[in-house]
Symmetry: C2
Subunit: 419 residues, 2 copies
């Protein structure tokens, strides 16, 4: 019996406590596996007896499996627990030109990966993607699949069950933008869709090094520019899933035309396409160049390419000021191919960000660890798992003077032998 009842979402029943603590334990296992029950008790603050009951439940639910037995200088050996790596998720990274489809386990490790050219309309996309998904599922008879996650270069409205805003995905005007329905129908699995920037933000939250970054902005720069905002540990979505669409904030009503129809949006100054435009402006007749190529040129010292990249960096910095001054994140993470030239671009952006900081120390700024496609794919893994891993954030910050409850006596963590 998986999941939990959200019948009266706001109300608490006698099972609410279990739901919360189950989420805490499951997330601790996810982040610190392999880990013994005793260490879970120490890390969570729950009683060992409670941890035993919860882990028993998690094993019954097939989220967790017993791993190797540890070895300690003294005493009974701990049995390590870890996530069940036979639970799998299909993830799709839909982008304007190419679409990646992959199979991942619950740890965000990929077991297969394929790419196809992105179809030109939602109907064909649904057809081709679901076909590939069925193929890939058939290729892994040993796994059981939890669901499907899709990263889209636009916004998905949960109420309408449609993609509602995806200017860079040049599907026809009359398109239904319905990918969700067909995919669920054909595969029989539950489908979760999310904006690419939000997916990257989730990837950072779930798989990033820091366990407790509570206020973060993840900025994805590719064909367009997107921002995933994490506030108090929660991803901001807004009523239509449109929150974070800073890429289309109009900075200059007289600026160049944007794909969204308006003029002078941030992304016309800061996206990969913007960099290409800068390059074309200073070097006529350079059509057909890709951004990747432009980066290579810049990397090998081409003056005009470097100039274009610098202009792009200035463009990014310009928009970052509103995010930094307006939302004051602790951490800013950049995702995009441009991070390959971070040595050159990073300092420009950091300077722009520092200039917008009102008080206190500026946010830490860094490029994402993984490459963009991986980040999006892993983010959608997190998205699918999220609801099973329970209410793992409790929004409320604890108050000043520290916790009023004495921490339990903390003994050294047991050291397991890796095998």
């Amino acid at each position: 019996m998986l999941g939990m009842q959200f019948r009266d979402a706001q109300l608490a029943t006698s099972q609410t406590a279990r739901g919360i603590n189950r989420g805490v334990v499951l997330n601790l296992i996810r982040r610190r596996q392999p880990i013994s029950r005793a260490d879970l008790a120490r890390a969570s603050g729950l009683q060992r007896s409670t941890v035993s009951l919860i882990t028993e439940q998690l094993i019954r639910e097939k989220w967790v499996i017993s791993g190797p037995v540890g070895r300690l200088p003294r005493g009974r050996r701990p049995t390590f627990l870890q996530l069940n790596d036979r639970r799998a998720i299909v993830v799709v990274d839909l982008r304007p030109t190419r679409t990646a489809i992959a199979v991942s386990d619950a740890n965000g490790r990929f077991l297969s990966h394929q790419e196809i050219p992105t179809p030109g309309d939602s109907y064909t996309a649904a057809l081709q993607i679901s076909q590939k998904i069925r193929q890939m599922i058939a290729g892994h008879p040993d796994l059981f699949f939890e669901g499907i996650g899709v990263s889209v270069p636009g916004r998905f409205d949960e109420n309408k069950q449609r993609i509602v805003f995806a200017p860079n995905l040049k599907w026809p005007e009359f398109d239904s933008f319905d990918l969700h329905g067909p995919l669920e129908k054909v595969t029989g699995l539950q489908v979760e869709m999310e904006n690419a920037a939000n997916a990257c933000a989730l990837a950072e939250l779930w798989f990033g090094h820091r366990e407790r970054t509570r206020d973060m902005a993840v900025v994805t720069v590719s064909e367009g520019i997107g921002v995933g905002i994490v506030s108090d540990g929660q991803l901001l979505r807004g009523p239509n899933g449109l929150a974070g669409e800073f890429g289309h904030v109009p900075l200059d009503p007289a600026g160049p035309q944007c794909s969204c129809g308006a003029r002078g949006c941030w992304e016309v100054y800061a996206s990969n396409w913007a960099a290409l435009r800068y390059y074309h402006e200073s070097r006529a007749g350079s059509g057909g160049l890709t951004f990747r190529h432009l980066l290579s040129l810049a990397g090998s010292g081409d003056e005009l390419a470097l100039k274009a990249v610098d202009q792009m960096a200035q463009g990014i910095a310009r928009g970052m000021r509103m995010i930094v001054a307006g939302l004051s994140p602790e951490e800013v993470v950049f995702v995009g191919e441009f991070t390959r030239l971070w040595d050159r671009i990073g300092p420009v952006i950091e300077a722009g960000i520092a200039s917008a900081v009102l008080v206190g120390k500026p946010p830490s700024v860094r490029p994402a660890g993984a490459d963009p496609s991986t980040a999006r794919l892993r983010g959608t893994v997190a998205m699918v798992l999220q609801k099973h891993f329970g209410p793992f954030t409790d929004r409320r910050r604890q108050n000043r003077e520290g916790s009023s409850r004495q921490p339990h006596p903390r003994v050294g963590q047991s050291v397991g032998e890796s095998m």
Copy 2:
């Protein structure tokens, strides 16, 4: 190993369910009083027996009192419950020039109200404000005071327990900006401080007509400009309480000097002071004019005043585009004296907002119901009550003053008493 641990903060105990349901019931009573237990059960989805137990506790805690008895066509008469209006809060609205101090009951009804000129430094402010507070408390021997809420024209950092950013409050450079400590020490009551725009947002959330606006931006325009952001029903604060400081987003690096030190911030184009500047620019030698006066002039048809007000409206609209495109709120509420000329200014702002909407219907835009000072004061009432009413109320927090400070009447300490 990296010392990361998220212990304790989010665990559920056997009392967690009660904490949540208590919050649900208490908020229902607040919004629908007077209301019977049976209606509470129907509205909440809890069992009547559970509601009885919870209301019994709330009455014991003195948050709720039994009111009049109702009358129905058939059956036993319901006893109505309502908030205990003898529970009071002292609220302070600190502004650059004047400071208001008031006593409110839990329903946001004011029982006294006074004003003093705002002192020129934090030391004097703490002294004079706490003196007035003690006077006002002494004037209401029948009430028991829950705490003190302060609205500040700047940002309060909960970690540092200091006001960290308040450029419009022209306190000296070397000031400690510590109001919180002295007020708590002198009055013996718990003090909560919050930015003025956030306070207004809380006021809308708590006392607004809509019971559940989940995504809202409240924009306060006065000496400066501030934004309180409500996302998914939660006020966004950010790590240092700096979230929402869109007023100091630099729009134009070559623009006029701002009080924060930077140039071309949104508020130099959109605040009351901006309007006065516009007026002075077109009419030399008009010093000493107040914004209120300017509004009167505009209201009576003065061409230059109208022009200044229109420019201010354009300035507001300009910055609203980033909030609307970037955060996509359902509702935008404006607070400020300028709303007196809403007929003229409103349409300009609405047009600007509409132009930044990417897809779907634009947010509803409206001026706040109450005048600015009332909005701020009522917001701080909500702020003080929030932690006792919130669905995630944690009763452990209420043991705060167990140490050295003067004991005060408080929930949960009184054991088995009257009624």
